[in-house]
């Protein structure tokens, strides 16, 4: 019986902090309960955005995020960003500068929550500003099920137009491999987060074909159960180096790549 294998250090790329409008029973909603949940599931660190930024107002929500996680070295802040045409948020370059000066090392774009259409002329300045400082962009489409459509034309355009921008697809599923694999071939800055990546042997296959630097571990906590993606990774059959990279090394490298 194999018993001497140690657990990988899990750095979760996809976590929200704060209350949800339909809070699952027992789901964490503040820093102490989030840390307790992370302990229960063996999660070492988490990249967190705030629910108030995603579903209320990015400016005040991001401020709240910074305040609430201050002093917590297990939590890294991820700011929710928006195009600035309406002037409800600062200009794109100013947003990115503030994000970095506040200690955040990633941005989250939530087109479904904010009813963005992802037209190039709508988001080009924002993506350009992020690419200029190499701030990883997490694309959060609020997808629930694998049968829902994905904005592939936007993803391809964003990756090709801004090759310095790491674009991380949150909650990508097994149902789009015929499209996703074509993009992984063509877009080296495209990274996939694993919380919903449930194809048989898919994590192993993607690491084998494109490398562990194309995957980041994530769970979707507290909306989704972390148990599934954790087992999906620990039982993926990766060698020690690839496992460490997908579990957290790839994400750390992306965050450290910001031009602060």
């Amino acid at each position: 019986m194999v018993t001497n294998r140690s657990a990988p250090e899990l750095f979760d790329a996809n976590v929200l902090l704060g209350p949800l409008n339909r809070q699952p029973p027992g789901a964490p909603e503040d820093v102490p309960s989030l840390l307790a949940a992370m302990d229960a599931y063996g999660l070492s660190r988490a990249l967190v955005a705030h629910t108030a930024a995603k579903w209320h107002d990015p400016v005040t929500g991001n401020e709240r995020l910074v305040d609430e996680v201050a002093g917590q070295d297990r939590l890294v802040t991820c700011w929710t960003v928006l195009p600035a045409a309406t002037r409800e948020v600062p200009g794109e370059e100013e947003q990115v500068a503030r994000l970095l000066s506040a200690g955040a090392r990633a941005a989250r774009l939530c087109p479904t929550a904010f009813r963005l259409n992802l037209e190039p002329w709508e988001v080009d300045r924002l993506l350009g500003a992020l690419a200029e400082r190499r701030v990883p962009l997490l694309l959060d489409m609020d997808n629930v099920h694998w049968s829902e459509p994905r904005p592939w034309r936007f993803i391809e355009w964003a990756c090709r137009t801004f090759p310095a921008l790491p674009l991380v697809l949150l909650r990508e599923s097994q149902s789009n491999f015929r499209t996703l694999f074509a993009l992984l071939d063509r877009c080296p800055n495209l990274v996939v987060e694993t919380s919903y990546l449930q194809g048989h042997d898919a994590i192993h296959l993607i690491v084998e074909r494109w490398g562990a630097h194309r995957l980041v571990f994530g769970t979707g906590l507290p909306v989704w159960d972390p148990a599934l993606p954790i087992a999906g990774l620990t039982y993926a059959g990766l060698d020690r180096a690839a496992l460490a990279a997908v579990a957290g090394g790839t994400l750390r490298r992306l965050l450290e790549g910001c031009d602060v």
Binding site: A7, G26, S173, F177, F181, D201, P226, A227, L228, P229
Partner: protein, 267 residues
């Protein structure tokens, strides 16, 4: 488990094979599907992953049988079971759109070693309580077989069919994970109340805390681990059990001992 051995939670966090627990996956497909690419879908691929995780046995039914070709598809399942006789258990798929062939196909596959029956009412476009499925209900009842169905009509429909065939073991696919899945509370109630109704866990979605809620509502004795591999992966669905805030005893029931008891009644 003895003192010093890892718990099931520790097993999954460390990626250790589940050597000390009986694990039977009750919901596995074989072969390709047009709707999306499913890597490593052959019998040998499944067994390789089972070895890595420590899954003892898997109930298999080919995707071909639930789509276009019942007989060839069932032959693939039977061949897989012959190739891995200790690991893969073939289930026969009846195609209700070829109702004249169903009784003979059930008997042919049973004689060749099939251990259960699989319905896919959605892909076959046929209601669970339709006339063409009646021979399969009677066959499962006579031979005391597990019958797993994707789609069971309404909870009341399931209750009526289960009561009419008390020796068959009815397993509702995709219904045991909780959340907004198929059937809702009324279906959970049927599983809790009817002695021969069970719920399969396979579900791509996993709302936080939902599975533990089902365990408390239905009882671990009525839940069966199933992955839906290669539509999904063995790994994720087993993680749902291994890391759930439920007891080790409950986890072991769900992982394998419940289904093992159902498979033993075949006659």
């Amino acid at each position: 488990m003895t003192d010093g051995e890892p718990t099931l939670r520790e097993h999954v966090l460390r990626g250790l094979p589940l050597d000390g627990a009986l694990v039977i996956d009750g919901h596995c497909h074989l072969g390709a599907y047009s709707g999306f690419y499913q890597p490593n879908n052959a019998a040998a691929d499944l067994v390789r992953t089972m070895d890595r995780i420590g899954i003892d046995q898997a109930c298999v039914f080919s995707t071909l049988a639930i789509t276009t070709d019942m007989r060839r598809g069932n032959d693939l399942s039977l061949a897989a079971a012959r190739a891995f006789p200790d690991r893969l258990l073939a289930y026969v798929v009846p195609d209700p759109n070829r109702s004249d062939q169903v009784p003979g196909e059930l008997q042919r596959c049973f004689d060749a070693g099939a251990r259960g029956i699989k319905f896919h009412t959605q892909l076959h476009g046929y209601p669970f309580d339709g006339a063409a499925y009646q021979p399969a209900f009677a066959f499962a009842d006579t031979h005391r077989l597990p019958l797993i169905s994707h789609g069971v009509g309404s909870p009341d429909t399931l209750r009526q069919v289960a009561r009419a065939h008390p020796h068959a073991h009815f397993i509702v696919a995709h219904a045991g994970a909780g959340g907004s899945g198929r059937g809702g509370d009324a279906l959970l109630q049927v599983a809790a109340e009817e002695p021969n109704v069970y719920l399969d866990l396979a579900s791509s979605t996993a709302p936080f805390g939902a599975f533990a809620g089902v365990v408390h509502q239905v009882g671990a004795g009525k839940l069966l681990y199933g992955s839906d591999v290669p539509w999904m992966c063995f790994t994720h669905q087993i993680g749902r059990v291994l890391l759930a805030p439920i007891s080790e005893v409950e986890k072991r029931c769900i992982l394998g001992s419940n289904l093992a008891a159902l498979l033993r009644t075949r006659r």
